[in-house]
Every structure is written in C-alpha cells, then in structure tokens.
C-alpha cells in the first residue's frame, strides 16, 4: 500500500499543538510509516509552492492548528482545504479561537496601539507599525493583512473534524490518528472525543453545590478531596468536554476549559454562566451582584477564555466600539 500524504500547519497559535504532536513519542514512527509529510513548518521541511502544485484532494490528512487572523493564514487555510481530503481543526485555536480569539474584544486599531505604541516594554521612537503595503526604494513590499476579527478555521473553510484541547493531549491525538488510519471516524463535522465533561473523570468528592463566594486561585489553598467549585473556585470542569483526564483538578487547580464545550452545546460561555448562576446560594439580587462582581472580575476572560471567537458573541459589539471611539 502506498503511503498517504500528511500536512501539519499552524496559523494564529502558540506552537503548543506541535509539541503535543511530537509528544506521541515513538508512535511518530508509525505515523511516518503511514504518511509522507508534505508540509510541517515546525518539524519538517516542505514548501508552500510545492503544495500549490499538488492536485486537489491529494493530501490525505491535514492537521491545521491556529485561528485565522491574517490574510496569509486565510490563504493557507483555503489552499490546504482544497488540497486535503480530510481537514482537521486541530486544537482549541482552530476549533474555537482560543486565547488569540480574546483579541476580538478589541479592534485592530486598539491591538496595534497596545502592541506598537503603548506597551511599556516597547522602544519604538519612530512609531513604526505594520502596513499591508509599504513602498521602499526597491519597490512595494507586502505584509499579510492583519484582520480586525479572528475567525476559527471552521468559520473560514469547511472542516471535517475537530480535535479539541489546548493543546490536545498526546494520547487523544494518537487515538484520533488511529481512528483516521483505520477509517473508524465519526460522521463528518463532529468533534473527535467523548460526550461528557471533565467532572466525569475528576475524582473529587461533590455534594449539592451552594456557593456564597467565588474565590480566585491565589486566595485559597484548596483541600485536595473536595470539588473545587464547591470550594468557591471557578472550575470550568462541569462545562468542559472530557479528554484531558482532569489534569488541572488533579493538581489542585481549577479546570480553565481548554477542551471546549460538550457535544450539542451552542455557546460554552453561556452554558457555564447559567451553571454558575444556578449554584449561587442567594436570592437577594444585591448579594448575587456582589458575589459576581467580587468573584468574577473578568467574566469574558473566565467564561470565554477559549471560545469567544466561536461563541454566539464572536466579538465585542460594533456599537460598543463606536461608543468607545
């Protein structure tokens, strides 16, 4: 049997996904047995122009991590979509936008202001900032265009499968690859993973939840046995798809939600929000307001840390921005 072709690409992401892929360790040899790697900027050679020359659908599998923030990333997404039979949105950024998606709370202008002008660690006397087009004596130079809004891969091109996680756990990657290699795949468009949440694998003891105050991680040393949420820490475990093996709660740290929403959930943050609201132990609107204000100072960053770009909100409202400006 001839070997299949594999592409691994990164867009707006941190590089953790690549490390996680390499984390499958010696199993990489089996991947190598099954595939020729045509593109893997982080781990192997391979040129975009070679990919451009390939016939459509000739790459058997493309693992694409990162969201789409620039025109170049969009170009690559479209190119790899056209060339690949199976396109996997790999990791939280491609799946939900992840932390780069939190940039959607701001406009491009604001992001540039911070990055190139306001940041205290900056030394930029000329006030230089990137331009899509700039003239130099030698001619016109082009940089990729930086979009106002980060989109997920699925919002940009049709995606066959999603592999959640920030980054996806190596074991889950191997399971997914095995499924792909043996053709045992769920229906297209689905997330490869289980349909339950982190609490399902978390070993902590839980009772009925009644919360009088949310605590921030630095405020308490939680006890090792009891459910962290019941101790007042905003643990996202109840809303987050299982897949990590409850790594964070195991080391006494609340789940921050990197595995994204469970199957069938439209909006992760809204789900988590109504769950948290449900367990606040007060019927006095003022007390509830205080509990939320004191315990959840950054609601978007807490509830939508990974999923803002893919949520029903997607980004801060244009009206709010107009009002700010």
């Amino acid at each position: 049997m001839s070997k299949g072709k594999l592409a691994i690409y990164w867009a707006a992401s941190c590089g953790g996904c690549e490390i996680s892929i390499l984390g499958i360790q010696e199993k990489i040899l089996e991947v190598d047995k099954a595939f020729d790697i045509v593109l893997f900027p982080c781990g192997a050679d391979g040129k975009v122009r070679e990919v451009e020359k390939l016939p459509d659908k000739s790459i058997d599998l493309c693992l694409f991590n990162g969201g789409i923030r620039t025109s170049e990333q969009e170009y690559m997404a479209r190119l790899l979509r056209a060339k690949s039979r199976v396109l996997v949105a790999f990791g939280s950024c491609a799946h939900e936008g992840c932390v780069p998606g939190l940039g959607n709370l701001h406009t491009r202008k604001e992001i540039f202001e911070t990055n190139y002008h306001d940041s205290p660690s900056l030394d930029n006397p000329g006030g230089t900032e990137p331009h899509h087009e700039s003239s130099v004596p030698e001619g016109t130079l082009h940089l990729p265009e930086f979009y106002d809004t980060l989109k997920t891969l699925g919002q940009t091109v049709p995606v066959d499968y999603y592999l959640p996680g920030c980054p996806p756990e190596s074991e889950r990657i191997w399971e997914a690859l095995e499924a792909i290699l043996t053709g045992q795949l769920p229906p297209p468009g689905s997330v490869i993973g289980v349909n339950t949440t982190v609490c399902d694998v978390c070993k902590r003891k839980r009772t009925e939840k009644k919360i009088k105050a949310f605590k921030r991680t630095w405020e308490v040393v939680p006890d090792e046995e009891t459910c962290l949420l019941e101790q007042g820490l905003v643990c996202c475990g109840p809303a987050t798809r299982a897949g990590c093996g409850a790594l964070c709660p195991q080391v006494n740290s609340p789940c921050i939600g990197c595995y994204g929403p469970n199957g069938g959930v439209e909006d992760y943050g809204a789900r988590l929000m109504s769950a948290l609201a449900s367990v606040i132990d007060s019927n006095d609107p003022e007390e509830v307001e205080r509990i939320v204000r004191e315990g959840l100072p950054d609601p978007v960053g807490t509830l939508y840390r990974f999923s803002l770009a893919s949520s029903l909100l997607r980004r801060s409202s244009r009206q709010a921005e107009a009002a700010k400006a």
Binding site: K151, N195, T196, D200, R206, P238, N262, V265, S274, S278
Partner: protein, 669 residues
C-alpha cells in the same frame, strides 16, 4: 417524507379579526410557508364546527401536524389537542399560536398586527414540524386531600370531603381553626350569631373520623404533582402535649404573665403567656407564647407545669415535621386587614377613638373585651355619635384598587348594632353603596328606616382640631357631600374605619410552594375568572374563599364546597393524566457534576452516587426547564421544548428578517 401541516386561523368573533386580517393570513400561510398543506380561517375555531373542520382535514388531507392560531393555549390547548386525538393524530403534534392575547388585544394598527400574526404562524409551523408524539402519563389519585387554612372556606371544603368519606388533612396556622369569622359578633344580613353557626362546624371538623387537624402548623414544602403530591408540614411546638392536655385551662388561669392580645382581640384585650385564642377554640389545647413566657425568657416560673394535673406542659417540645402524601391541595388561607395607619389623615393609632372594623367586631362581641358594650377607648363612655368610613384602603389607587366587597354590608351591620345597643347617631360615609347579594339591599333599606345617616363622599380628614362650636372634644369628619355638593364637617365621638381585605402577606410565597401564581394585588389566580373559579393553572391545586379575592361568607362557603366537589371528581375518577412534557438526562453524557441537583423547584432530580449521574424523576418533573438551562454539559433535554424546536421557532419568527438580509447575512462579521 415532508410533513403536511394544517394551519387554522381563528377570528374569535371580532376579537382577532377586528385587528388581524385573518383571511389574508391564512392565504399567506398556504402560499408562503413551506409544508403547509391546508390553511383556513374560521369565525370560531373552538366551536364544534371548527373542531370538526380540523378533524376532517386530518382524516381527508392526511395532515401530520396542526397549527391553531387563536387564543392562549391556557384556554384551548386541551380543546384542540382533543380534536387531534379524535382524528387519530397524536395531540402533541398540534401547536397553538396565540394571535389574540399576543397580537390583536395588544396591537393598535391592523397592518403590523397582521404581519406579526404571520411571523408567529411561521414560527409555529417551523416548530410543529419538529415536535414529537408524546404519550401522557397516568397517575393514580391519592384520595387524601390537604386543606390549608381553617377559616370558613377551608372548614366547608374539609367537611364536604370528610362527609363524602375521604380523608382530609387540615393545616391551620394559628392555634385554633375558625378564621376571621370566629372574631365576629353577628353576621350580615341575617344577623345570626357568628359563633353559633361557626363553632358546630369547627368541632365537627375536629371530631370527624376522616379529618386530621394540624393546628399551629404550616405547610413547608410541596413536591410531586396532581394525584401524588408529597407535602411537608411543620407543626410548631405548642409546649403543651396534645395527647395529655384535657383543656381544663388551669394553666391559663394561674399563669402570672399577661400580654396584650394583638391577634384575636386585635389589641383590645389581654391574654396570658399560655393561652387559647378564645374560649371555644378548636382544638381546646393551649399554646405557650415562648416570646412572652417568663420561663422561656428568664428561666423562672413553671407555674403552668405545677398547675397542670395531667402533666401536659412540655417546655422542651420541638417543632414536628410531618411528611404526607396527598392527591389534591385546597388553599383557603383567607385575607388580612389593611393597616389603617397607612392613611395618616384618618388618625388611626393617633386619635384614640378611631377604631378599625375588626376592633369594632370585638367591641360589640358579647364574648369580647367589653362583653359586647360599645364604648370609647377609655373603656366606659358610650358614644353618642359614631361615624363609619367606608373604603379605607379599598378602591384607592394608593393602596388597593379592588373593592373589598363586604365593607358596605359590614358597615350596615355595625350601624344596626350601634343603634340597637346605644341609640347613638350613626353616619356612614360611602362612595357607592354595594349591596348586591341576596337580602343585602333589603338590609340596607332596613337601616335607612332605622335612621342611620348616609353621606356620599370620600372622607378627606379626621381630626380633633375643633374649629366650630360643638366640635370641642369630638372627632371631626371632613368630607365633601357629593349629593349636596358641599363640604361638611361632622363631629362624632367614635370613628370606625372599614379597612380593606388584603391578600395574606405570605400568599405569594405559599402560592409558589404549590406552583400557583397571584394577581398583581396578591390574590390567587384561578384557572378561569368566570368558568373555573376554584381550579388553578396547576392541576390538583384548588383555591377557596377570600384568598382568591375579597368575598363574604356565603361566597367563601360556596367556593369551599365547589373546591371539594372538584377534588371528589378527581378522586372518583381514580387516575389523572399528566403532561409528558418533561426533562430527561442523557446518562451517558452526564458527568455527575451535580450543578442541577438543587435547581429543581419540584425536587424532581435525584443523584445516583453509585453511577455518578443525576436523574429526573419523571412523575415529579413539571417540565419547567430550569435544569435544562443549568446543565453545563448540555445533556438535559426538555421534551416538547428541545433546542431544535426552539431554534426552529426562532428562525421561523425571523422569516422576513432573513429574506430582507439575504441568506448568511447574520454570519457576516
């Protein structure tokens, strides 16, 4: 296979057609909404002809779904579900679309109203196509009934049921049953002695083999649903053992601690720290008011214990929690009196000789603090003139908009008693005289003949500041006499304020426990104001008496009997069908996070620790959807209201927005 949807647009006479172009809407639905096979409009869809039309279409046109655009589902969902059943279509494949309360009754212009009706129908069609056939569940009806409130309405209901052979649990909050009627001297319009007609009913209820009475008790919690409610009753500690007490009263007699009785005697008399509210109290068992008892407050005394021969005094008694299964619940919690201090210009609490109606009831009661003598606050002077002010806190935008329904008659009763007992001049200050029940107008005429004076006009002020000769030392009623068309000042010795009947302070809270709602004012809401006055929107929960609205004793009794009859009907039938619209948890997906566990207002969720999953107890679930929204894993589904159905409904309602914006516009960033 595509669904075949029938759309039926009702005119409701001119109720809907007056504001919505029903014909055009029906035509539009057929032409523009996909999968609509039949669309008709008709004058009265709920009439037998209207129903027959739907049934025939289901049979002849092979409809697989039905949308009825008419009134609120509260009114006719059952009607149209039945029509579908008759024609062999699962009733849950019918959706009602409310174009009356939600459209014609609230709209002001025809065109937008017609457009709104279209949107709602488009939503209903989109949703109904995704509805699933459901089968109602059958539940046996427990023949035991809980009656809350032992006033005349509750007593009537209790006795009707008990006499018919069914067990009743009567829960009364105060130490004795009897309600307000026990405080009255005479009852209008017949002037028979209130106690004489009430106390036999009280003891009958107490002694009845089918009645279990919990007095000094309250309903704490209700779960379950019609036919099979579980109720929790808190029986407060009396500090007196009911099984030993003989009701001799020796303890009361010797108790050294005297307190003002603000309940039964409305502050006009005294009782002891250990007391029975009144001599004919039922049960005839005293209660220690721990707040005022010397032993409880200062750790000294225990006189009552020494006096009690059978040794019934028990200072360590604790509240008792009683859990019971009942099939139906009747709420008969009555009314409370308006706080007359809220109208400072009438001087109650400031001017000694301004009395409330309830105080006056006690004053003229032979068993009351003055042994029935009508005297001023000094306890001895008989008034030579008395003013009765109607509508105090009633028919008043600042307090209660409603008419308290009984004050005019009670005022006439008072007038009669004053004339009979003292020969004083009596003035009634009324806005309208409302005497519209059997023998009421006759009673009014009688008082006219007896010489009571009637002055039509709302009283502006009651003052003791004399301005004219003859006013010194009197209370002066300042008012516009609207019949004479001039201001008048009438000096009197005594004023009686006819305070309003108001809903009980905890009516909303109790209603919530039983799953029923209150009007804005706080009266319990009946299922239908005309046609179903004692049932409520919650099956198995009935209301009777003044808790449903201010009313007189005959009406309260009639409602008590009516509620009992409704309950008997359910018991005789033996089973009830309960809505299959319930939540369910996908156990595979449930992570056992327990977020949902204390969410359910009906306690329908249990946690299975062994399997680490939560589960909905279907028989208890009312399909409210609270848990569905709470589950962060999204694994709870509310049948008949699942995401797909609601999503379709929203998309349907936005049919024209999508057309206007072009497909996918919503997704543009």
């Amino acid at each position: 296979m595509a669904e075949r949807v029938g759309v039926y647009v009702c005119h409701c006479g001119s109720n809907i057609a007056g504001m919505v172009d029903c014909e055009a809407v029906a035509r539009w639905a057929k032409e523009n909404v996909s999968d609509v096979a039949v669309s008709r409009d008709y004058k009265f869809m709920c009439s037998s002809l209207g129903q027959a039309m739907i049934e025939e279409d289901i049979r002849k046109e092979g409809l697989t779904r039905v949308v009825v655009a008419a009134c609120s589902p509260h009114l006719h969902e059952k009607t149209f579900r039945r029509a579908c059943s008759n024609a062999g279509l699962n009733p849950y494949l019918m959706q009602m679309c409310n174009i009356r309360e939600h459209v014609s009754w609230v709209a002001q212009e025809r065109d937008p109203a017609t457009e709104k009706a279209k949107s709602l129908i488009s939503a209903a069609v989109a949703r109904v196509k995704r509805q699933e056939p459901l089968e109602p569940m059958k539940v046996g009806v427990n023949p035991r009934t809980l009656v809350v409130g032992g006033g005349i309405a509750g007593l009537q209901a209790t006795l009707e049921l008990a006499d018919a052979g069914y067990p009743v649990v009567l829960v009364e909050r105060s130490p004795s049953i009897g309600g307000h009627m026990a405080q009255f001297d005479k009852t209008f319009p017949t002037l028979d002695c209130s106690a004489c007609i009430l106390t036999p009913k009280m003891s009958e209820a107490y002694q009845h083999e089918n009645v279990t009475l919990y007095s000094y008790a309250e309903l704490e919690e209700v779960s379950g649903s019609v036919g099979a409610f579980k109720v929790r009753i808190r029986k407060r500690a009396r500090s007196v053992r009911e099984d030993l007490c003989t009701g001799c009263g020796a303890c009361i007699e010797k108790c050294p601690r005297k307190v003002v009785d603000n309940d039964f005697e409305v502050g006009l008399g005294y009782r002891k720290a250990i007391y029975m509210p009144f001599p004919q109290a039922v049960p005839k068992i005293p209660v220690i008011d721990r707040e005022n008892c010397t032993w409880f407050q200062r750790g000294k005394c225990r006189v009552c214990e020494k006096m009690c021969q059978p040794g019934a005094i028990d200072y360590d008694q604790q509240d008792e929690i009683i859990e019971l299964d009942v099939g139906n619940i009747i709420l008969a919690t009555g009314w409370k009196l308006f706080d007359c201090r809220k109208i400072p210009q009438y001087g109650y609490g400031r001017l000694a000789n301004v009395f409330t109606n309830m105080e006056f009831e006690r004053l003229c009661n032979a068993a009351g603090p003055t042994s029935g003598k009508i005297v001023l606050r000094d306890g001895k002077t008989e008034p030579r003139s008395v003013a009765i002010v109607h509508c105090v806190g009633s028919r008043d935008k600042n307090h209660n908009e409603h008419c308290s329904a009984v004050c005019c008659m009670a005022a006439l009763k008072f007038g009669h008693l004053v004339l009979e007992k003292t020969g004083a001049e009596v003035y009634s200050f009324y806005i309208d005289m409302r005497t519209n029940q059997k023998m009421y107008e006759e009673f009014y005429c009688r008082l006219l003949e007896e010489g009571m004076h009637f002055i039509r006009g709302r009283v502006a002020e009651i003052t003791d500041a004399a301005r004219m000769p003859g006013e010194e030392g009197k209370l002066i009623i300042q008012c516009e006499d609207t019949l004479l068309g001039r201001q008048r000042r009438i000096p009197v010795d005594m004023v009686i304020l006819m305070g309003a009947l108001e809903p009980q302070a905890d009516a909303k809270e109790l209603g919530l426990k039983c799953g029923i709602s209150c009007s804005m004012a706080g009266w319990y809401t009946e299922r239908h104001p005309k046609l179903d006055p004692v049932a409520t929107m919650t099956d198995g929960v009935f209301v009777a008496g003044a808790c449903q609205g201010a009313k007189d004793i005959p009406a309260a009794v009639a409602q008590g009997a009516a509620a009992a009859a409704r309950v008997m009907g359910m018991i005789t039938k033996g089973t009830v069908e309960i809505e299959p619209v319930v939540a369910s948890i996908d156990e595979e997906g449930c992570s056992g996070c327990r977020i949902c566990n204390n969410m359910c207002p009906y306690n329908a969720i249990e946690y299975d620790a062994g399997r680490n999953v939560s589960r909905v107890i279907t028989a208890l679930c009312k399909g409210c959807g609270t848990c569905v929204a709470a589950c962060p894993a999204g694994v709870i589904t509310g049948s008949h209201f699942n995401n797909e159905q609601i999503g379709a409904e929203i998309e349907g309602i936005l049919w024209d927005a999508r057309a206007a914006a072009g497909r996918g516009a919503a997704a543009a960033v």
